[in-house]
């Protein structure tokens, strides 16, 4: 007995078919759906804000993210602490709106810088994961037969490992830094894309225009690269967008466990994990935790809305 793939696919994200239509029509539809799905809009705005913050962090941040100030360590967030207003020692230059950490670094500054690591890491996982997955999936779908069987068995095999467990094993083998954390996540991420793209390729393969290209004697690689892949790529990109939130969440989880960025780097998961040693200083772990949640939530809002728009059955 093998794991019933068909059954898995019946509930996995359904392949999304973008029906061809004119640009203007598409734009109108998009606007219509955005208005009907304000969550997507909210998600988009949050993501854009975080991206802007990350890009502008050096200008926005009041301090240097690595600058330590031991005499001002573990300060409560000035934002929530009215007692500080009467405290004469606190001058504007040293006001820490979200407090300071165990070495006196400004939490707000580190929060603003955090996206510079997390967002690219999440995107890198998705990009490399989808490239590997698309390659394997399209080869499996295009070659078919025994190759299909072999590739899909391998894919299934990787899916049997829970994400973090496999990632833990990979980081144990490679050592722990950001690059290896990303590699570990790519290793666990590609199978989803392989399965999706294989399904699409199988569908596209039988389309008339592919048959037509084949009929005029185009070589196999040409058919795969020029006709099949471009037509299966769009859905993979859509899946990727839906997936970024998840990738960020898992990356933060790895980083929280101590695998990934080094201890001093202003990365959200890392900040939470260091904050646990200072449980009573809740601002050390709560704010970076909420930062992760807000970004992931934004991506999930977008993803959920897009699923609605593209899969009318659940509307």
């Amino acid at each position: 007995m093998t794991v019933p793939t068909a059954r898995l696919e019946s509930v996995a994200e359904r392949p999304i078919a973008l029906t061809p239509s004119s640009r203007r029509e598409q734009a109108a539809t998009v606007w219509y759906h955005l208005r009907k799905n304000p969550l997507v809009l909210v998600g988009l705005i949050i993501v854009i804000v975080w991206v802007l913050i990350s890009l502008l962090a050096p200008t926005l941040a009041p301090f240097d993210p690595l600058q330590q100030d031991v005499s001002n360590r573990l300060q409560r967030p000035a934002l929530f602490d009215s007692s500080q207003e009467t405290d004469e020692e606190v001058t504007d230059a040293t006001t820490h709106l979200l407090g300071t950490d165990e070495l006196g670094r400004d939490i707000l500054t580190r929060l603003l810088y955090g996206g510079r690591i997390t967002i690219p890491a999440g995107i890198a996982v998705i990009i490399f994961g989808s490239i590997v997955g698309t390659l394997i999936g399209s080869l499996a779908g295009y070659l078919g037969g025994m190759w299909d069987e072999v590739f899909m068995r391998i894919t299934e095999l990787f899916m049997a490992f829970p994400t973090i467990i496999l990632a833990l094993a990979v980081t144990a083998a490679l050592g722990s830094d950001i690059r290896n954390a990303i590699i570990a996540l790519v290793v666990v991420w590609w199978p989803n894309y392989a399965r999706l793209v294989r399904g699409l390729v199988l569908e596209v393969k039988t389309q008339d225009y592919v048959e037509a290209v084949r009929a005029i004697g185009a070589p196999g690689y040409y058919i795969l690269l020029r006709t099949i892949l471009p037509n299966s790529f769009a859905p993979a990109v859509v899946l990727a967008t839906l997936d970024i939130g998840n990738a960020i969440l898992v990356f933060a989880g790895l980083s929280f466990l101590g695998l990934g960025p080094e201890p001093s780097s202003p990365e959200w998961g890392k900040m939470v994990s260091i904050g646990i040693d200072f449980f009573d200083q809740w601002w050390m772990w709560l704010f970076p935790g909420i930062a992760i949640a807000s970004l992931v939530m934004a991506f999930n809002f977008i993803g959920d809305g897009m699923r609605d728009i593209l899969d009318p059955r659940t509307r």
Binding site: L66, Q68, V70, S71, I276, D277
Partner: protein, 531 residues
């Protein structure tokens, strides 16, 4: 209808679960139990193999030594399993008369054979603490209750060393029956460690009931304890709680009675809590950087100029600000031991000289280096916090440090094998005597074995000082030499001692009899509960 019922079932279950969760029942206990929250660092409870702080606490309760210290300090030598002793004229032979009526936890009587076996096994298994037995040339049972130790040379600190739990007396028959041997080839043939990790074979007031590494250690009252002062608690649980924050929460809620690893910040917060008492006292463990003297392993930090530059680049005052009650030690000799340099005689930060030294060593723009350290919190101080400060301090002179936190055991193995280039560790004195400094001198346990700083690559003056100090027995001359050595090591050595934290222990106010000890840290047999 099946599905409807299933739904109802789920709801019922949920309700039940919620109800249960809301009623947190304290379970009635007839026996007296002491629960200690502790960040466990140990690799063995076999006295001949284990040599960490946790091992000290546990083995102090399960084993006993020939002689011991007073409860609270190391000021004098007191009899324990030996009632009295004589020292030969030339100072190299110690003859001990054993106490009558002492029994092991299984009821066997203590005899001279057990003492001989324990000492020879310690020497021959070549475990981590075995080096302490190196000065012993021979141990002989003169009769059933008399033992004579022969030393290789005069050793003023010998009795103080014998008080270390490493020299615990184990039941020879029981250890032999479980694979132990004291034969010369014990290093290969002794297999008793596994047994001694789960059972104790000593004369102490407690016996080891079980040890689940990284989870908990359970001690129970020794039914055959020979002493007159029976301990108060029937069971002692030493629960591994690595995070200081969790220890604090558990202590506040009364889940644990005593927390050994609270941070200074947390202890300050607990000061107002009437349910909790706090002990703060001078510690004897210091934190330091290691810089391997072998260029192949240490790279740039093997250069004595770079080593000195790093010593001058550290922001010492910053670390004392960071950890309330801590001090800057003047050397690797724990401040508090006779002759040790304290904050007054310690180095001060001097970034300009540090930069000049780096330039002189050929690194005007600094260099990149990886710093390895064990990822743990000890005595409430997370290594990660100090490591990040070290990174920031060294960045100011252009040294770009990449932090490499490692699992404790993995990092320790690399460090002990002498394979670590640049690292951050802590050290507690092996012996409560200035002679402890020998570990940090050429060929010593840290400097030689772990950092490859030996007679061939260390300055001859320092090697000469070491040789003088090792044999000097005149107390005053010894102290002069200790001062000279510390001054020399501040100039040239492969370590950078930077902080010596205070001891901070918090416990429930109904716990009485708490005493801190510089050697075994905590004697659980002295504790009791009032009310």
């Amino acid at each position: 209808m099946l599905h409807v019922r299933r739904g109802v079932l789920f709801s019922l279950l949920m309700a039940l679960v919620l109800l249960g969760g809301l009623v947190t029942g304290a379970v009635a206990q007839d026996e007296q139990v002491l629960v200690i929250g502790h960040a466990e660092i140990t690799d063995s409870y076999d006295p001949a193999n284990g040599f960490t702080q946790t091992t000290g606490i546990v083995n102090r309760a399960t084993y006993q030594t020939l002689v011991t210290f007073p409860d609270a300090d190391a000021s004098e030598i007191l009899p324990l399993l030996a009632t009295d002793w004589t020292i030969s004229e030339d100072g190299t032979q110690y003859t001990f008369n054993l106490r009558e009526g002492v029994t092991f936890s299984n009821g066997d009587p203590l005899t001279a054979d057990d003492v001989v076996f324990s000492m020879k096994r310690l020497q021959n298994v070549n475990g981590n603490p075995s080096f302490l037995a190196d000065p012993i040339v021979d141990v002989v049972a003169d009769d059933d209750m008399t033992v004579t130790f022969t030393l290789e040379s005069v050793r003023p600190s010998f009795l103080a060393e014998l008080a270390n739990t490493v020299f615990s007396i184990t039941n020879a028959d029981e250890v032999r029956a479980n694979g132990g041997t004291d034969a010369a080839d014990a290093e290969e043939t002794d297999t008793a460690e596994d047994y001694l990790n789960q059972n104790s074979a000593g004369t102490g007031p407690y016996i080891l009931e079980s040890w689940t590494p990284q989870e908990e250690t359970v001690l129970v009252r020794n039914p055959n304890y020979w002493g007159e002062d029976l301990p108060f608690f029937d069971r002692v649980l030493i629960v591994n709680i690595p995070e200081a924050a969790t220890q604090k929460v558990a202590l506040e809620s009364g889940d644990i009675d005593l927390a050994t690893d609270l941070s200074p910040d947390q202890v300050a917060e607990l000061a107002d809590n009437p349910d909790i008492s706090v002990f703060i006292g001078p510690g004897n463990i210091h934190h330091f950087l290691i810089m391997n003297a072998d260029p192949e392993i240490g790279g740039p930090v093997s250069d004595p100029l770079v080593q000195r530059a790093i010593r001058l680049a550290l922001d010492y005052d910053g670390y004392t600000d960071l950890w309330e009650g801590s001090i800057q030690p003047g050397s690797d000799l724990a401040f508090g031991l006779a002759g040790a340099f304290g904050p007054d005689q310690a180095l001060s930060r001097d970034l300009d000289t540090a930069r000049e030294l780096l330039a002189e060593a050929g690194f005007p723009d600094g260099f990149d280096i990886v710093m390895t350290y064990p990822d743990l919190t000890f005595g409430g101080i997370p290594f990660a916090t100090n490591a990040q400060k070290i990174q920031a301090d060294l960045a100011e002179v252009g040294i770009n440090v990449e932090l490499n936190p490692q699992d404790f055991q993995i990092a320790l193995e690399e460090y002990r094998e002498g394979d670590q280039g640049f690292g951050y560790w802590l050290w507690g004195p092996d012996i409560n005597d200035p002679a402890d400094l020998l570990s940090f001198m050429p060929g010593g346990k840290v400097a030689g074995e772990r950092l490859n700083w030996n007679d061939d690559n260390a300055p001859p003056e320092i090697v000469a000082l070491r040789d003088q100090f090792a044999v000097e027995s005149d107390p005053e001359r010894r102290l002069e030499l200790v001062a000279e050595i510390q001054t020399a090591l501040q100039e040239t050595s492969p370590t950078a001692p930077f902080n010596q934290p205070a001891v901070q222990i918090a416990f429930r106010s109904d716990i009485e009899g708490f005493v801190w000890h510089p050697q075994w840290l905590l004697d659980v047999a002295l504790l009791s509960r009032v009310g």
